[in-house]
């Protein structure tokens, strides 16, 4: 925080008080939210699943019993419960549990990064369109309307068609399809906020446009963006896995849930666990992020639940 700026805007309040008020405001907002969230059993369940999956993903090198790509042709297609392979082995004798753990690392990372990229550009464009209005708004929103004229799966496929199949390109594709979503949420909130007194006051105090946008508008749209992003991580993980399933995302032998599911399909008669387990993992993650996202939304806006 720049001291001059703080002094310039904090003329009415001594600096120390401005700080304490800010802290109070933050605590005032998030504490009841977390308390309400804690009471929501489903949200806690969702958060629990997410913590476990992220924990496993981060600690993959430590907790994974085998190297995910270690081939063991003598132990191919073993069912779950086989000694030494809790969840069995695949067609090349690779340990399914290890591949699921490492696959989670890829899938979760792709989901989170895709959301961060989409959120960054979407929020930025939404802020500009909503705050400046006029030509900015028209151009940005029309481009977004055209992007939304594509069904999202098709748009992702079209982008991958241009840049070529692969994990990184699939991630870029699904982040691009996420941008309009955030831009619309942020623009909508900014349109109503920019007429509010506290923003008008910033204009009167001579704050720059960028300062108003990033210091005053952004924190106020943050809660709806966080809810959207939480719900979105699950979808992005599913979308990335879907692209890999189609052969357009991660490529074998990468341990990734969509790739595992797609490979496992060829052995559905002899080893159904190869396609069932990665699918279950994707389902659980999507469900968990949905439960947490729904819980967060209700906790941030208790009236909505009514």
């Amino acid at each position: 925080m720049e001291p001059e700026r703080e002094q310039a805007t904090g003329k009415v309040l001594p600096r120390g008080r401005a700080w304490s008020e800010r802290e109070e405001k933050t605590e005032g907002m998030w504490c009841p939210v977390l308390r309400r969230l804690w009471k929501d059993k489903f949200a806690v369940l969702g958060a629990g699943i997410i913590v476990v999956i992220i924990g496993l993903a981060v600690l993959a090198p430590v907790v994974s019993p085998y190297d995910p790509n270690q081939v063991d042709l003598l132990n191919r297609l073993k069912p779950p419960g086989t000694e030494g392979h809790l969840l069995g082995t695949d067609q090349l004798g690779r340990d399914v549990l290890s591949r699921l753990i490492w696959g989670g690392r890829v899938s979760v990372a792709v989901g989170v990064f895709a959301v961060l990229i989409a959120m960054f550009f979407g929020v930025f464009l939404g802020l500009i369109a909503g705050y400046f209005g006029g030509a900015f708004d028209i151009v940005i929103m029309r481009v977004i309307d055209v992007l939304m004229a594509f069904p999202y799966v098709l748009l992702a496929i079209a982008i991958i068609a241009a840049f070529g199949p692969g994990l990184v390109n699939a991630m870029i594709a699904i982040s691009i399809i996420g941008i309009p979503y955030y831009a619309r949420i942020v623009r909508g909130s900014v349109l109503s906020l920019r007429e509010k007194e506290f923003i008008q006051a910033q204009h009167a105090l001579g704050s720059s446009n960028w300062r108003i946008m990033f210091r005053h508008l952004l924190p106020n749209v943050f809660s709806s963006v966080i809810v959207a992003a939480t719900l979105d991580v699950g979808w992005m993980i599913m979308a990335a896995a879907g692209m890999s399933f189609l052969g357009l995302g991660a490529q074998p032998p990468t341990a990734e849930w969509g790739v595992m599911l797609s490979n496992g399909r060829q052995f559905i008669r002899v080893a159904p666990h190869l396609s069932l387990l990665p699918g279950l993992a994707i389902f659980l993650v999507v469900l968990a992020f949905n439960l947490l996202g729904d819980g967060l939304r209700d906790a941030l806006d208790p009236h909505l639940k009514e």
Binding site: F150, P151, Y152, A158, F163, L246, I268, L276, G279, V286
Partner: protein, 316 residues
């Protein structure tokens, strides 16, 4: 209302132009020389030069775009590199299979969604409501490709009730009963997510409607619960549901690719994905263009239908 319809129709122009620009860009954004992509790696320098001249690849990009657009509008969608056939009849033929799958799915999803949403709303907070909402949450979060495999395993492999893949059994192409049997699993798979969305929407819309004054009046008149719900409430509650159903048609049209992959359903999605993997750009562009355009027109129809059902929209 007339002004709204005209405005909505005019809006088609920039949207369709945007769609064509995006589809056109696919080949030009792609790394590598389009002529090399079209002729393959073994092409001679002369052949490449000749093709560039033929296709106008030496000309400025915007001229190439308008030439391409002109060809598209006159029905010349190019030739598939891999299948050596005209793209337009090929994609139209495969689109039929996708349309059959999508339409069946949307009917299933609407029936299940509206019934379960209505039951949930009329019995709010009962175990039936909670169960319905739990199932819809699960349906919402189930990856299409995984649900497909689960159904295949259970109904195809274990019970052997239904065929696991394809559109017809070998030798019975064109047989309607055979088609229906093959359609059940893929359409249920594709319908699950849409049914969940429609159920949620119906429930919340119904809850809003049954709190209205005219429903209270109907109750005060002594009408039975079923008359109130089915004669008075449902009609109004379904207006916003129509939009959701329409949007789902578009999503399913594109999302069908995942179900097509699982069930080897010979739809346009499968054609598109195989085209991408084979770098068959004319085929990919043609299939994406067809699906995107039909999506735009489905959305238009939904918007117009919505205005007919609720004329207030046009004045907002």
């Amino acid at each position: 209302m007339f002004r709204y319809i005209v405005k909505r129709l005019l809006w088609l122009i920039p949207v369709l132009l945007g769609v064509t620009v995006l589809v056109f860009s696919i080949m030009h954004l792609s790394p590598g020389d389009p002529a090399k992509i079209l002729l393959g790696p073994k092409a001679t320098q002369e052949a490449l030069e000749q093709l560039r001249e033929e296709l106008g690849l030496n000309r400025p990009l915007y001229i190439q775009y308008f030439t391409w657009l002109g060809n598209i509008l006159t029905g010349d969608w190019g030739r598939s590199l891999q299948l050596k056939r005209e793209v337009l009849p090929l994609v139209l033929d495969r689109f039929k299979a996708t349309a059959i799958l999508t339409m069946t799915s949307i009917i299933i999803a609407t029936v299940i969604g509206v019934i379960s949403g209505t039951v949930s709303a009329t019995k709010q907070y009962s175990w039936l409501d909670r169960l319905g909402m739990l199932i819809s949450l699960v349906g919402f979060c189930l990856p299409v490709f995984w649900l497909g495999i689960l159904l295949q395993l259970f109904f195809g492999l274990k019970l052997e009730w239904l065929p696991m893949t394809g559109m017809y059994s070998p030798g019975s192409e064109g047989n309607f009963t055979d088609l229906l049997l093959h359609l059940i699993l893929p359409s249920l798979t594709l319908a699950a997510g849409a049914a969940a969305v429609i159920a949620r929407m119906t429930r919340s819309s119904m809850l809003e409607v049954i709190r209205k004054d005219y429903i209270r009046t109907a109750k005060a008149k002594g009408l039975s619960q079923s008359v109130i719900i089915y004669r008075h409430a449902l009609k109004n509650a379904l207006i916003p549901v129509v939009t959701v159903v329409g949007m789902q048609v578009g999503f399913l049209l594109a999302g069908a690719v995942l179900a097509e992959m699982v069930f080897s359903w010979p739809g346009i999605g499968l054609l598109m994905v195989n085209g991408i993997l084979a770098r068959d750009f004319p085929l990919v562009q043609g299939s994406i263009l067809l699906v995107a355009t039909s999506y735009v027109f489905v959305n238009l129809l939904v918007d117009l239908l919505y205005v007919l059902l609720d004329p207030q929209i046009a004045y907002d």
